[in-house]
Symmetry: C2
Subunit: 476 residues, 2 copies
């Protein structure tokens, strides 16, 4: 029974994409919804999202941000005010055309992002330098009509947070955008154990309407990159068309400078693909909804003794879920909780009971350690830290092993055919050269890293002097 | 300057409706959005909602519920499966008819509530009695195309939570519906200080698709009732058309029994109207985003001494916001924070400084108490409890004073013309008599209370023996 169970997850080497979907569905993170491209986030997946929200929300508030809520619907005219913005989003919009039994005079877009709606309010609220900065964040759902969808990574509707700030000075907006990117980087690396490359997007890859876009890019287990978070310096691109102006100290009326930044439920997809293995998920202890599971091994003769002690331990230990279901064998339960990525397992059998011990098992390495029952709290805290550090270390090594500097397009193409990963290459700064890389290899410019692992002297396409070093990768 | 400021809020006696809107806008709880019937919940209003969410979410989890997230869009066919449900909601639906540049084959409704979507998933997830009960809650936005809208009370889009549960037995679903209603009642009374009447809705007022609906009804400051929360025993009304069935212990395939329940951002409207006065909001300490404000009175000669001590106190005292803005007078600040409903104010002037004292002021009664600075934590905790208890007591008295038993329709009409409130009346059980009350007085049956303040022998309309005692009121 136990073996059959494990067989249900497709091995990564056989079909990575199917392995991913198996993890999502069998661990009950999410399910396909009966609406095109939509998913249902099931309780276990939503509990991961709640953990992510709690940590980020605290960090946003510590840096002076407040939450608010803006409408789901955006009048067509709003989207059209910033020309790049509407061009970028028009193909992905869902439109409400009827309401309350009548055709609407002006169709309403279901928000794909809220810059325009929020700017229309900021224009009303901001009058003086005293009203600045405005530092607002919103947790909400957004809709983008995507052609190809995949749970968590790309869905018609998804959950995210979008921060929107307004400042008196250009450099303050830039600093804010970079400050929030740094919060994302730190959160991804320290809490999710996902190493990332932080940098600036190339002009052709930046957010529709931004002056500068920044991103943190992660590498998935199959060598494809994933944009895990973005932050935008919007300049005055929105404050001009929406006329968000303030009377400055010097008596002059000026337009504000803005930033926006966001991460989404896509992070859960990254968690699966960065840490998961052929047994299923491996969740970082800091965001695991179930930090540890206690599985009693209770043959009939020792049933009451083992279960009784298991209940005592589970009640006394923080964050321990007791799996006392009697319809499954211990082996089945091990597999089940491993698949769900629970970082620690405590096994308690009749012999452990006699010796006053329990067996502590690490999800990431499978390491088993017999521990005195009274030493469990300390041993669990240590092992938990070891898992958090261990999976980050492994992911960092993987990223390093899969990052290669390349000198020319043939080399990039050849390497990429062999193995996917991150490619460090020089770029002259010409959009055409960037497009040529994509055309030839399917790899896109992920970003211009703040701290590249290597520097390139010449453009990988035209061979002219490199103005920038770029990370290229095939991406989700 | 200070006086002018207070004048901005219309007195309740002059125009209650304008007073309400003034409170919403001037206290910056919300603002009108540039989309028909929608509002923007501003940071101060959203902070109140976050407090409400935190308390309720904890209570839901303590009673075994988990959060999840279901899609915003509902296919037309789903809504049509339960005939009463679609009839009830059809007039209020917003429809997405275009997405990704194409007309949709089947229009998608923006969820007005999620019973149908969630049932379609439960049909997939529930197979055995072992899968039951399913206890899921969702925090989300919903859309109802309302004709007349008012911030928080009735808006095209609003935020709420909707619990959806499935059970093996009829009585379990009923018990769940009543358990959640009791959580709402307790939360409203103890945390929000809003006394309510808990009872069952009459058949004509029940939720479209429910077997039984229950509600908690509150009385606003103008004598109109507000349905503050509802809970529904859905019977098998949804499980049959959606075929949510399970194999029971006895080997029989059976349909599940369900409940659903919800409260919304409307609660913020109730808070304003139950506790507010002509100076603005009065927030219960348990959900006030700013529990106390410290206003330094710092004339030029004592400026640094007063501000220095104020900063020390604000840093040392929990939940105290220091208002050290130098562009406003202390009097202006008093009015500003009173309008925002901050429960406690600490005043600190040069003379207080000399005496080692501060003045503590209650928002609800205006009572001022000089307190030794070192005794502030204890005095604040006591005064905070006194405010929480005091506003509840006042609201309870108001509800009692404004609740009258009536014997016949003329009496009800006469009383209602004189003064709005709750009317306790007998009802024979005939829909026609209930409709006659509405026709004659504009009052609707709020509910059949579990514990009426009085019992009625005869139907207020036809004079036949009363099968039930009903609370009638004009309602929001």
């Amino acid at each position: 029974m136990a073996e059959e169970f494990v067989k249900e997850i497709t091995p990564r080497a056989e079909d990575y994409s199917q392995w991913y979907v198996d993890c999502v569905l069998k661990a009950e993170l999410a399910d396909y919804a009966p609406v095109r491209g939509c998913m249902v986030i099931r309780p276990y997946g939503f509990a991961v999202w709640e953990k992510i929200q709690a940590i980020l929300d605290r960090r946003f508030k510590e840096t002076g941000h407040e939450n608010a809520y803006f409408p789901l619907f955006i009048p067509r005219g709003f989207l059209e005010r910033e020309s790049e913005h509407v061009e970028g989003f028009a193909p992905e919009l869902a439109w409400v055309t009827r309401g309350g039994g009548e055709e609407l005079a002006e169709p309403l877009a279901v928000r794909p992002t809220s810059e325009t709606m929020i700017c229309s309010m900021y224009a009303k609220w901001i009058h003086s330098y005293r009203d600045l900065p405005v530092l607002i964040n919103q947790w909400c759902n957004v809709v983008r009509w995507e052609k190809a969808t995949r749970p968590f990574l790309r869905t018609t509707e998804f959950l995210w947070q979008e921060g929107h700030t307004a400042h008196a000075r250009e450099e303050e907006a830039r600093e804010e955008a970079l400050r929030m990117l740094e919060i994302y980087r730190d959160f991804l690396e320290e809490d999710l154990g996902i190493p990332v490359i932080a940098g600036e997007k190339t002009p052709s890859e930046k957010f529709a309407g931004a002056a500068h876009s920044y991103s943190v890019e992660a590498l998935m287990g199959d060598g494809r990159a994933l944009q895990a978070g973005t932050s935008h310096d919007l300049g005055q691109n929105f404050s001009r068309p929406f006329d968000i102006s303030f009377l400055d100290r010097d008596g002059q009326l000026k337009h504000v400078w803005q930033s926006s930044w966001g991460v989404s439920t896509r992070l859960i997809g990254a968690l699966i693909m960065v840490h998961g293995d052929d047994r299923g998920l491996v969740l970082p202890p800091r965001i695991a909804p179930v930090p540890a599971v206690l599985v009693p091994i209770a043959p009939e003769r020792a049933r009451e003794a083992v279960l009784g002690r298991a209940r005592q331990l589970a009640a006394a230990l923080e964050g321990v879920h007791l799996d006392d279901r009697d319809e499954y064998t211990p082996g089945w339960k091990y597999n089940d909780w491993e698949m769900r990525g629970v970082p620690l397992r405590i096994e308690l059998g009749p012999r452990d009971l006699e010796q006053g011990k329990a067996v502590l098992v690490r999800r990431d390495t499978g390491e088993k350690v017999p521990v005195d029952q009274e030493a469990l709290p300390r041993a669990m805290a240590q092992m938990s830290s070891a898992v958090q550090a261990g999976i980050k270390e492994r992911a960092r090594n993987f990223l390093q092993e899969r990052t290669w500097p390349v000198d020319n397009l043939d080399q990039l193409r050849f390497r990429l055919e062999e193995r996917r990963g991150m490619f460090i290459a020089g770029w002259c700064g010409d959009d055409a050269c960037e497009a040529a890389v994509k055309e030839a290899t399917g790899a896109t410019a992920r970003n211009i890293p703040f701290a590249p692992a290597a520097r390139s002297a010449a453009c990988v396409v035209c061979g002219k002097a490199a103005a920038h070093t770029v990370y290229y990768a095939r991406a989700y």
